[in-house]
């Protein structure tokens, strides 16, 4: 693929540290005797740095607990970095994971508007795309029913439809390729490819499916224990990773 403005950087991450501190939930009684409290810090990311050019597709691989989802959430702004910086260069970003924040009591349609507004779209913009989203989600009359009545498949179908139709500059995709039934899976896979092939869109995919990574990505990052093991060319790293996982 030939890209315009090759040097345009969409994401730069520098020395990113994220830790889960033991400022966990506590009761009033426990917070009285503070001595007992050990400061138990779990570092999910230990100094990750990378840059991604506009229009590129980055895959992130790694075993469970290696910090992949934490990295995505940090990019989406849900977690703040404990150290280091994330610069998105004024691009809009959305995290396409299973279920964008839905309010369970409200109907699917209302949730389309609410999620859209949270992604930074105006009511009018969403109105224009409303039909497209409903058609794509393909959950029939359930769109007018509260989200709590949805099956998990319908839930993710709607979530996918919202983020896929309301396009942002950067899309973060977390294992979502396995959404819904076989038919929707194919449809979403195709839609994903269509979105990804847009030259101006930057995409980061987290997946355990190495075949997907190989097929879609331009670059890949292999995370292990919160650090980047390898970064760069897809085929060679996936091969190394496969060998690592066999051990």
């Amino acid at each position: 693929m030939v890209k315009k403005n090759k040097d345009d950087i969409a994401i730069s991450v520098k020395n990113l540290h994220i830790s889960y501190r033991s400022i966990e939930k506590t009761s009033i009684r426990n917070s009285w005797d503070k001595k007992k409290k050990r400061v138990d810090v779990f570092e999910a990311l230990k100094g990750v740095s990378f840059e991604l050019k506009k229009g590129k597709i980055l895959g992130i691989i790694g075993k469970n607990g290696s910090g992949k989802s934490t990295l995505l959430r940090a990019l989406a702004g849900i977690f703040s970095p404990d150290k280091g910086t994330i610069d998105l260069h004024h691009n809009t970003i959305s995290l396409l994971s299973i279920g964008v924040g839905f309010n369970n009591k409200l109907t699917g349609l209302e949730n389309i508007y609410l999620s859209g507004m949270l992604l930074g779209f105006s009511e009018e913009e969403i109105k224009q795309k409303e039909k497209e989203i409903i058609d794509f989600a393909d959950i029939g009359k359930f769109i007018y029913k509260p989200v709590k009545t949805y099956s998990s498949g319908m839930h993710s179908k709607l979530a996918f439809a919202i983020t896929a139709i309301l396009e942002t500059d950067i899309m973060l995709i977390d294992e979502v390729l396995a959404v819904g039934d076989a038919r929707f899976k194919e449809k979403s896979y195709n839609k994903m490819k269509e979105l990804i092939s847009d030259e101006n869109r930057t995409v980061i995919i987290v997946s355990h499916s190495l075949s997907t990574i190989k097929e879609l990505c331009d670059e890949v990052i292999w995370l292990n224990d919160g650090k980047i093991v390898k970064q760069g060319d897809v085929t060679s790293i996936v091969k190394d990773y496969e060998e690592f996982m066999k051990e």
Binding site: R21, K25, I78, F79, K105, E110, L118, L119
Partner: protein
């Protein structure tokens, strides 16, 4: 503070839409629908009127209006405080999936509570008409009093929302505190009439809810001017609370997703 203004500008439409949707969903499933918004406050008023007007023989004039005015203000405060403690946890699905300034959640909630308060006030006006309470131009002054009530509730709510994330049993403590405050606020008795002047005036000045209820009654029922000096003092205190709350939330909001 600048960040707060930008965020409010950016997200207030979201808050409005979310409040509207929430109100709609609240009534969509029930048989009597939106009538509940009227039935509920009306029934509470009747209960209190019966218990305190007839059993305890209160001799306050226009007792139902007296109760209703206090009760509507109390309900707003009560909802704000109770609602904010568990607000982040109840919105787990949202908080862990997208970024949203957390006070927007409280803002959206407060819109629904404000709506309910206005319904209660409409009922109150009807009640006043029925019981022949004289209407005066002082009614307009309910608005500045409401602003003071809102600012105080919002500020307290922000702080409780923050601590509610970390302290699991804060809700219990708040419940006890609210119950105490309820009885100390004179919802169903007149602080002026029941307590001796020293204790009464301390209570009316130090307890913002008692004070605000008293001011509401002045403008609704008695055609009197509110105590502007103390309104201003409580307004300033409320603004300070809000500023602290906003600061604390800006500093910590991104950690919430890690804890819940």
């Amino acid at each position: 503070m600048k960040k707060f203004c930008i965020n409010i500008k950016k997200y207030y439409k979201y808050a409005l839409y979310s409040a509207k949707a929430e109100l709609k969903s609240e009534v969509a499933g029930s048989y009597l629908n939106w009538l509940w918004w009227i039935i509920e406050p009306l029934c509470f008023m009747l209960i209190y009127t019966f218990v305190f007007g007839y059993i305890f023989k209160s001799n306050i004039e226009y007792f139902p209006v007296f109760i209703f005015t206090g009760l509507s203000a109390w309900e707003f405060f009560n909802r704000m405080i109770t609602g904010s403690v568990k607000l982040i946890i109840n919105n787990r699905g949202l908080v862990t999936k997208v970024y949203i300034p957390k006070y927007i959640l409280l803002l959206a909630k407060s819109f629904t509570y404000l709506f309910k308060l206005f319904i209660a006030w409409l009922l109150n006006l009807v009640l006043m008409l029925c019981l022949g309470v004289p209407f005066t131009w002082h009614l307009v002054l309910a608005l500045p009093i409401l602003i003071v009530l809102y600012v105080i509730s919002f500020g307290l709510g922000l702080l409780l929302m923050h601590f509610g994330v970390y302290l699991v049993d804060l809700a219990n403590l708040v419940k006890i505190g609210l119950r105490m405050l309820f009885y100390l606020s004179g919802v169903f008795y007149s602080i002026r009439g029941r307590l001796d002047s020293l204790l009464g005036s301390i209570l009316l000045k130090a307890n913002p809810i008692a004070f605000i209820m008293d001011e509401f009654r002045k403008v609704f029922m008695y055609g009197q001017l509110p105590n502007f000096l103390f309104l201003f003092i409580w307004f300033v205190i409320g603004i300070i609370l809000c500023a602290i709350g906003i600061h604390v939330i800006h500093k910590n909001e991104n950690n919430y997703a890690k804890v819940i």
